[in-house]
């Protein structure tokens, strides 16, 4: 192999916006054949968007991509696949009701007289499964019947079956057991020897250290550094990942809350499915408790479990020290419990988009402003006016559809709608995602005011700055358990990132092998 080979794949000046938010700004990347290229970055650094653009799932707003020095555009995943780029997605692309062999050769099966040759397909599936280190999976099994870790191996086999020149693995090992990871690594190393270009996205530093030849760090939608693997220490890498362009103006940090009172919310040994494991914590009135960690470690499920949305939750929930059972949002918002949830996706879960601002605002609190099911319009108007001025919601009329508002104002509507029921506990699921800076600051102030008025707040954020500046305490989740708790001055960038990545901090010696 030549020392200065031209890269197999190159992208330059790639930008992508979602609404007002830049997911990628002027990003570039060069991937060489025969090497494993790792991509690192915090939550929301733009890694997923980057992958989606390369794989043809979404299109970039600007910039160009070159494959073997000739410009390419992909309008669909199928096109990218034909060009020799295969992607193993984080959210699986397998079809549950088809067999493993059908899935592996979904787009280009072996054919005889124009029809799928199932016998040959099966033989080929066996071969490619073996190549992916999953020879024990039966090609005639239905994907629906396989556990998640097996499905991920099938996904890798499916990508290999296309005989790609470049293979992208997006968190492809997240659900695998340790022995499977070892197998997959052997496979990847062999593929590298065969001359494939491999793009590897992972949050697990140990894996990257073992596998990668070259690393690129993304931050705020830009590639900030590319270096040969092993030339930087873990600490330097963390530093690269968290360095920030600007800092928001936060309200003063909260004072510690005395811990001698009965907590408003107590959670004991909460478990659900295999996504939440023995979670215990409590929140005092006036306290803001943050949930940290990498995306998808069970934070969302925890909030949904508290709100009564999940079925089969084990463990105990106490309000003011009294044991309660919350069977759904209807229970949760009753005055006895007084819980509110600002959900993850305001467009589908928080708002009825085509409905008016007025209808959205008063919907959760309708019981409060109605007698015998009849709405008191005067009361409704009063309460809405109050909320609109409290949160400074900007809309030309309360009768216009809420979809016409800006993202920040929409999020204010979601929060105002829940403040109208005067909750004592507020659960927030990443409320500042996709919101402009000004509105963010208003929300931080609101959060502080609410806490000062005695509301207990549980606050999940993917932005570590917010956790550092808004929270009294932060629980860091990893794989469904709380792996460390940070408090007061102990909540720092470094501590958050280190414990989220589960690399050497005080109590966070937990690794996957421990399970």
């Amino acid at each position: 192999m030549e020392a200065l080979s031209t890269p197999l794949f190159r992208m330059e000046g790639i930008s992508k916006r979602y609404g007002g938010v830049h997911a990628l700004r002027d990003a570039s990347l060069a991937v060489e054949a025969g090497r494993i290229h790792a991509i690192l970055g915090e939550n929301g650094a733009g890694k997923s968007t980057l992958i989606k653009i390369i794989a043809g799932v979404t299109a970039a707003d600007s910039g160009r991509m070159l494959l073997n020095e000739s410009e390419v555009t992909f309008a669909s995943p199928a096109q990218a696949s034909r060009a020799g780029i295969a992607c193993v997605f984080q959210e699986l692309s397998l079809i549950p009701d088809l067999t493993v062999a059908d899935n592996i050769f979904i787009s280009d099966p072996p054919r005889r007289f124009g029809l799928i040759d199932r016998g040959k397909q099966r033989q080929m599936a066996e071969a490619v499964l073996a190549r992916a280190g999953a020879g024990d999976i039966h090609p005639m099994a239905q994907v629906r019947d396989l556990p998640l870790s097996r499905r991920q191996l099938v996904e890798i086999a499916k990508a290999l079956a296309r005989d790609p020149r470049m293979l992208i693995l997006d968190e492809a090992t997240s659900a695998l057991t340790q022995s499977d990871v070892t197998k997959v690594f052997d496979v990847l190393k062999r593929l590298r020897k065969e001359g494939l270009a491999l793009l590897y996205i992972s949050h697990r530093m140990q894996e990257i250290a073992e596998l990668a030849d070259i690393c690129t760090v993304f931050r705020n939608g830009r590639n900030v550094a590319t270096y040969e693997a092993g030339t930087k220490s873990d600490n330097e890498v963390v530093e690269l990942m968290i360095g920030r362009e600007y800092r928001h103006v936060f309200p003063p940090k909260p004072l510690p809350v005395p811990a001698d009172r009965v907590p408003v919310l107590t959670v004991n040994d909460l478990s659900w499915s295999d996504r939440l494991r023995n979670i215990s914590f409590s929140v005092q009135a006036g306290e803001v408790v943050g949930l940290g960690g990498l995306d998808g470690q069970g934070q969302r499920e925890l909030l949904l479990a508290l709100f009564g949305v999940l079925r089969g939750v084990a463990g105990e929930l106490r309000i003011d020290g009294n044991k309660v059972a919350v069977k759904g949002p209807n229970d949760a918002k009753a005055p006895k419990i007084g819980m509110a949830l600002i959900p993850e996706d305001r467009k589908t879960e928080g708002l009825m988009l085509p409905m008016s601002v007025r209808d959205n605002l008063s919907f959760a609190a309708l019981q409060r402003i109605s007698t015998a099911g009849m709405i008191d319009f005067a009361g409704e108007r009063r309460l809405i006016a109050e909320m609109i001025s409290l949160l400074a919601i900007r809309s030309s009329s309360n009768d216009q559809p809420v979809s016409a508002l800006s993202g920040g104002n929409q999020q204010k509507v979601v929060i105002a709608k829940w403040l109208m029921v005067t909750p004592r506990i507020i659960l927030l699921n990443d409320p500042t995602r996709g919101i402009d800076v000004g509105t963010k600051q208003e929300l931080y102030k609101l959060l502080r005011r609410l806490a000062e008025s005695g509301v207990a707040v549980v606050f999940y954020s993917t932005d570590y700055d917010e956790l550092i500046n808004c929270c009294n305490r932060v629980l860091v989740l990893f794989d469904g358990s709380v792996i460390s708790e940070l408090a007061g001055e102990g909540i720092t960038d470094r501590a958050l990132v280190a414990s989220a990545l589960s690399i050497g901090t005080n109590s966070a010696a937990k690794t996957r092998e421990a399970r």
Binding site: P329, L341, S370, M374
Partner: protein
């Protein structure tokens, strides 16, 4: 009602705009056009007698379309209409034969049977999460089976009670048929429920996003179940009226009402995907369909032509209005 609002002119305009979305305006425009076309054919089309007669015919469809509209607002559909209508007509006529007690109970019993079937539909949709199209279709078959068994496959001999006949054909106000009053009362109640009650708000919210409505703590399952019960009750009520109109119930008396009811709701601007639509639109749709039927029959276009025109009109209107939100076209 004058208020000291900051924009006194803008407020009623906005309210008007909310009521008069373009599809409702177009539906009313079509009504006017049909009447004008008809009057070219024969001047009696604009006579009060003809118009009242049309309103009377429309009232049966109007009652059914009211229930259908509520269900469609939820983003569901009720295909059990045909035999629930027949159920209402047959059961009320049957009870009416049982002496004075039967006479008194005829109407509530007929409606009650419809509510019962609607409730079963609602339980299937809300709690068992069976697609509404399937469960209501199956329920239609079950009710048909029950009625065939009950009647022996022939038109029942029971005749409607005096009260049923009075409700369908009598006059409390001179020249204004009672069935029109019934429809007006049901319509007024529906407008009240949709605009002034938590239940009405919940129907719209569920139709727009059941997920968001649920996460807002609305009792979504109960609302869905109740709405299907209302739809069943209204279909049966229409059956009661139809039985009163014809003096007795008949096999398959509800069959000609399913498609026009859906068409009326959709033509009135209610989104087939749920969450958007006004009762005024449904009224317009009902009148439009009735006039269309009347004109087609006056012009001696046979049933065949009517069916084809229905189908084409529904698809054309849906292509005009139904596309904007149909991101997931399941």
């Amino acid at each position: 009602m004058e208020s000291n609002d900051a924009q006194p002119a803008a407020r009623p305009l906005l309210v008007l705009a909310r009521w008069f979305d373009p599809s409702v305006a177009i539906a009313f425009g079509c009504i006017v056009m049909l009447l004008l076309l008809g009057s070219l054919y024969s001047p009696s089309f604009l006579s009060p007698e003809y118009l009242l007669q049309q309103l009377k015919v429309a009232s049966f469809l109007g009652v059914i379309a009211t229930g259908m509209m509520l269900v469609i607002l939820l983003g569901q559909i009720d295909l059990s209409v045909p035999w629930v209508v027949a159920l209402g007509g047959m059961m009320s006529s049957a009870i009416a034969g049982w002496g004075p007690v039967g006479e008194a109970l005829a109407i509530p019993f007929g409606i009650g049977c419809g509510i019962g079937i609607g409730l079963l539909n609602g339980i299937g949709v809300a709690y068992l999460r069976i697609p509404s199209m399937i469960i209501t279709l199956a329920m239609n078959a079950v009710v048909q089976g029950l009625m065939v068994l009950y009647t022996g496959g022939f038109s029942p001999q029971d005749s409607a009670s005096a009260a049923m006949r009075f409700l369908a054909t009598g006059f409390i106000i001179p020249n204004l048929p009672n069935s029109v009053l019934v429809w007006a009362a049901i319509g007024a109640l529906t407008v009240f429920v949709l605009t002034r009650t938590t239940f009405g708000r919940a129907i719209y919210a569920i139709g727009n996003s059941e997920r968001a409505a649920y996460l807002s703590g609305a009792p979504t399952q109960r609302v869905v179940m109740t709405t299907f019960a209302i739809s069943g009750g209204l279909s049966a009520f229409a059956g009661v009226l139809l039985a009163g109109y014809a003096s007795k119930a008949a096999q398959a008396m509800g069959d000609p009402y399913l498609l026009p009811a859906i068409a009326a709701v959709v033509l009135g601007g209610t989104s087939i995907l749920g969450g958007r639509g006004t009762y005024l639109g449904t009224v317009a749709g009902v009148i439009l369909i009735t006039l269309l039927q009347s004109i087609l029959s006056v012009m001696q276009i046979a049933e065949a032509g009517r069916q084809i025109i229905y189908g084409v009109v529904i698809i054309a209107m849906m292509l005009l209005y139904g596309r904007e939100r149909s991101a997931s076209n399941r």
